[in-house]
Symmetry: C2
Subunit: 557 residues, 2 copies
């Protein structure tokens, strides 16, 4: 079988890697207070696949044989565990279903395509034999962009791009690389770094998601302030469709009608399968530093982030946690194990003392991280300017120590979700973007909506937020929420997540800043892009895929 690395069939990330709380003394008390949940030590390291029953493959022998002719016997499988690995993404709903063994409909066959020709062959077969094809990158979707329609009667092919994982070329003069769609983040960065380049795109899912998946779901990485959203990064593409391949050459800018590039980006497989991308790449920065700041209040912090964004200074990212997320963040600090770390804790206690003496309410303070990249002199100049801005808004400069820690831990958060699920507790995220003028009211509206939903469902719920991804006219607000599961997990989740999503669109925000639509967010599409906008999208999908073979039902029903 093809050597493609997959995540745990039952959760996030690699087998053997877990969130640990025993070494974080403040964490269990925090969870107890926030959610009313008594944490227990982790009971199991994995889940035995034999404990679940998987619906049999419905793929006919003729389809399997043709697929084997296209991609080779070794690259076509009806293995139950691999079909379950490919059945869905990692949204809370999908994790709940997976852990319950509740697989309404699972792909009937997984094909690991090794080339554009193979992808084209699979799509042609799909039209000929009336199959459904769902492209699969890393499987990190939290918008249910992968899960098949439970009522789908046709044979479903999960088309895994994982074998197409090469950086094919770097145009060093133009800062452009041609890269296959199925490459995982770290593998791609390793290939680029070896030549002195980076894509600079680091979404939370980075370690387990793919370049093609980022493009197909309109991803944005933590460093988008410098490197852009994936829609800015991708300049050219090859997109395989049943009747032929859309070839968009790498162009810095063009005036050729409606943007096909921007039509394919975010299309979640509904217009075809992205096999190859031309993307902006950048020289590795001479110096990189993440500096932490502490603000007395959320409002001061937000205004400072906006001032940084509209200043002459370029930052790689500028983010700030609100008071609740700051408190959460402090609760996940490890107990100091070394003398050096014990000194650091003393330093921190001293800092708290300084703040209290300044009259800060330490329950209101907000931690911020700003990343600087560039030449040493540029980094120094920018740090100085930013220090001036944040101080004007009452912040203390904490320096590079906490920043380095943030940088190390940044991809670990998704493991926490699985740990909490085992404790019968939901920890989930949802994010939006809105104009600067609406961020404060939106933030409050989401909190109010979540609190109402927690009340309605009888929960001791928790919600917290940070601001990240600055643009000229606005920014992203990213919310994390949690609560203990009740007897009707899916219904409760719909109420709570739904309330948050509704508050987004009601407050001038978008239903999703960088997690796509799938089926999870499609109920808000008409409110976000208007009913007539949804009609245009429906028409586009219908004309591009009249037989509904390409990941049907996603984005708009």
């Amino acid at each position: 079988m093809a050597h493609v690395k997959h995540m745990k069939w039952w959760g996030w990330g690699e087998e053997g890697v877990h969130f640990e709380y025993a070494n974080k003394p403040a964490f269990a008390p925090f969870v107890k207070k926030a959610l009313g949940v008594d944490l227990r030590p982790r009971e199991r390291d994995t889940i035995d696949f034999s404990t679940v029953t998987v619906p049999s493959s419905r793929a006919g022998q003729d389809v399997l044989e043709t697929l084997a002719r296209i991609s080779g016997t070794d690259n076509v499988t009806t293995d139950d565990e691999l079909r379950v690995v490919h059945w869905a993404g990692k949204s809370v709903t999908e994790l709940l279903l997976t852990r319950a063994g509740d697989f309404a409909r699972v792909p009937d066959v997984v094909v690991y395509a090794g080339s554009e020709d193979e992808v084209a062959g699979v799509l042609r077969l799909a039209v000929e034999k009336d199959l459904v094809v769902i492209p699969f990158g890393g499987g990190t979707s939290i918008s249910r962009s992968l899960q098949p329609d439970p009522a789908e009667e046709r044979t479903i092919v999960s088309l895994d791009l994982g074998r197409m994982n090469q950086v094919l070329a770097v145009d060093e003069t133009s800062g452009l690389a041609t890269i296959q769609a199925g490459v995982l983040g770290p593998d791609m960065e390793a290939q680029l770094n070896a030549r002195g380049w980076t894509l600079g795109h680091f979404p939370d899912s980075f370690t387990h998601s793919t370049l093609g998946g980022w493009a197909a779901t309109r991803s944005s990485g933590m460093q988008s302030d410098k490197y852009g959203d994936i829609a800015d990064i991708v300049r050219g593409m090859r997109v395989v469709r049943p009747a032929g391949t859309v070839v968009l050459r790498p162009l810095p800018s063009t005036s050729t009608g409606p943007s096909l590039r921007e039509m394919v980006i975010g299309s979640e497989g509904r217009l075809g399968v992205i096999t190859e991308l031309d993307v902006h790449v950048h020289r590795l920065a001479e110096r990189r530093e993440v500096i932490a700041y502490m603000f007395p209040t959320w409002q001061q912090a937000l205004t400072a982030m906006h001032d940084i964004s509209r200043s002459d200074v370029s930052t790689t990212f500028a983010r700030v946690s609100d008071a609740r997320e700051t408190a959460f963040s402090l609760s996940t600090q490890k107990a100091p194990a070394t003398l050096r770390k014990k000194v650091a804790v003393k330093g921190q206690n001293l800092l708290w003392e300084v703040m209290r003496r300044r009259g800060w309410d330490t329950a209101a303070m907000c931690i911020s991280y700003v990343c600087f990249e560039g030449s040493t002199s540029e980094v120094d100049r920018r740090k100085k300017t930013v220090a001036g801005i944040v101080k004007k808004h009452g912040a203390l400069v904490l320096g590079s120590g906490p920043g380095a820690l943030y940088d190390q831990k940044k991809f670990d958060t998704p493991y926490l979700r699985d740990f909490l699920l085992e404790q019968n507790t939901i920890g989930d995220v949802s994010e939006t973007a809105a104009p600067w003028s609406k961020l404060t009211t939106l933030h409050q509206a989401v909190y109010d909506a979540a609190d109402r939903a927690f009340q309605q469902t009888g929960k001791t719920g928790w919600i917290m937020s940070h601001m990240s991804h600055s643009y000229h006219s606005g920014a992203c607000l990213y919310f994390t929420f949690g609560y203990e599961l009740g007897e009707h997990p899916h219904e409760e989740y719909a109420v709570i997540k739904g309330a948050i999503q509704q508050a987004f669109v009601d407050s001038g925000g978008t239903l999703s800043h960088h997690h796509g639509v799938g089926t999870e967010h499609s109920p808000w599409m008409e409110q976000d892009v208007s009913p007539e906008g949804v009609q245009l999208l429906r028409g586009l999908f219908a004309t591009a895929d009249p037989g509904a073979h390409l990941n049907p039902g996603k984005i708009v029903g």
Copy 2:
């Protein structure tokens, strides 16, 4: 009749404004040498409209009455001159046809819609009565995006947006303005400037084109390095369609499937009529300076522009003319009329002497302009850095004098085209964008192709170019070409312009960087976005406008 300002029916710009060559002593000799044409003084200041015959309006009384009910009698007209003003844009082909009175098919009625409701009424009527609707902004298109299909049998409505010309709101916190689509550039800037803001979008057509037109044709302004292309500037839109209005709220970034915003931008009226836009606006810069530099060679100049683009310095624009355009530019200098200007000429002669002493070939030298905006200290810092970069590539810093002159003259060039046409001479432009790695070969390939086409048509032709609009991965090359008209003007033009367009796509460039597609560039669409890409666009237009009422035939046939 509605008070909407129009350009000359027979040419560019305002009646009474002309290109003058008598006060530019080097110009006639330059044209003689470059094109073999002996310039004569301008013979007429205008063309009497009574000299042409216009096909009668075919609009039925019922349609005219309904339109009058929608927009008011004063805003509906079948006047011949107004119909001719609206019949086409200002491409060379259209100017030739207009001057020859060769109006194959002219809109049957012009409607000046004053509101979104009126636009909606017109579109509903179009579906009901099987009409064709062609939205009209300023009429500056040079891609034949406005000209009706000569074979169109149905009644054609030119829908003029010129009454919808208000800045409706400015969100000062977010740097966003809500503006009606029909506002002309200067009118919009005046309204914004009065509140301390600017859009920063200045295409060559600025004085006579509209915000809605820029969006509908994917425009890019001279200052796009700082302010972005129109696709970056526009964040939200209202787009009226027969069945309803697509409402895209102003969002800094979103992950809601294929981008409807990027689908409507560049759609040239084929998806509906843009009536209102939410756009990025910026505070007027504290300081603005345009500095000129002279490079010894094109290659050194290009590399320097690329180095500026990838440096830590933000510029508002950075452009460089090649040797031929530099020579042309010098030929359009006015004779010095004042003592101060005579001193300046002496200074210039001295400069030439310096260059010759340095061993420069003055026939190879290239003039460059870089614009800096920001705080005084930032402008100074950036100027210093850029001076260091250009000097490394052998340039001399000419200072702000020539830069200021460039800034004043920047919107005047289109008048030259009309002057030359009267002299039976074509002066026209075409532009592309390509990755940095391809600019040098593309530039040469276009020159070679143009020279072959000039030979083929027996012309003494001229072509020149500048680089402008820098992006991370490439830039725009903008070509201007000229030749004396022969007996078969349309056939000759097709050979020469066609050769240039073909060289663009053959050399890795796009068919248009910021002038749209219309019918002028549609023959290269398959080569630019691939046949399957064109199929996707055809499907989109067919599904969005099944009755082909909305500016049919444009972009893809």
